[in-house]
Symmetry: C2
Subunit: 81 residues, 2 copies
């Protein structure tokens, strides 16, 4: 059964590239990927922080955070949200 994966981003160029090339490249048999734009869904920031996300873009797989390159810190996203 597919496990949950959440891709957190903030609309930045680095984020969009990582979403298109990496988030959508996960095996759909393994992971059901949800895309969350933290700039537009500020109510999800606390959840990302709890999972250990410190910058975007980041992919949380099975509760483990994987930061992919670097677009912006979560603090910057909070300031912009």
């Amino acid at each position: 059964m597919a496990q949950k994966a959440v891709f957190y981003h903030a609309g930045c160029a680095v984020c969009v590239d990582a979403e298109q090339r990496l988030a959508h490249a996960l095996n759909p048999a393994d992971y059901a990927v949800e895309i969350v734009h933290l700039g537009q869904q500020a109510n999800r920031i606390a959840e990302a922080e709890a999972a250990g996300v410190i910058s975007v873009p980041a992919l949380v797989l099975d509760g483990h955070p994987y930061h992919i390159n670097y677009g912006a810190s979560l603090a910057e996203v909070k300031g912009a949200a």
Copy 2:
């Protein structure tokens, strides 16, 4: 047809985790993943650098580098190799 993906690592704990959870989660219909241990295959370091890899673990998809969390810089890997 599956495109080429190369996962560069250096055997560190962060690398092993990213390999197991992320590199092996790519859709096999999209990507054929090659795993390269730069500490053991120092002759591949130049190729990783040419693709823009500056730290490991990193995944190169279609020639674009995606650094996943941070294990070690390529300079450190060179020093250890």
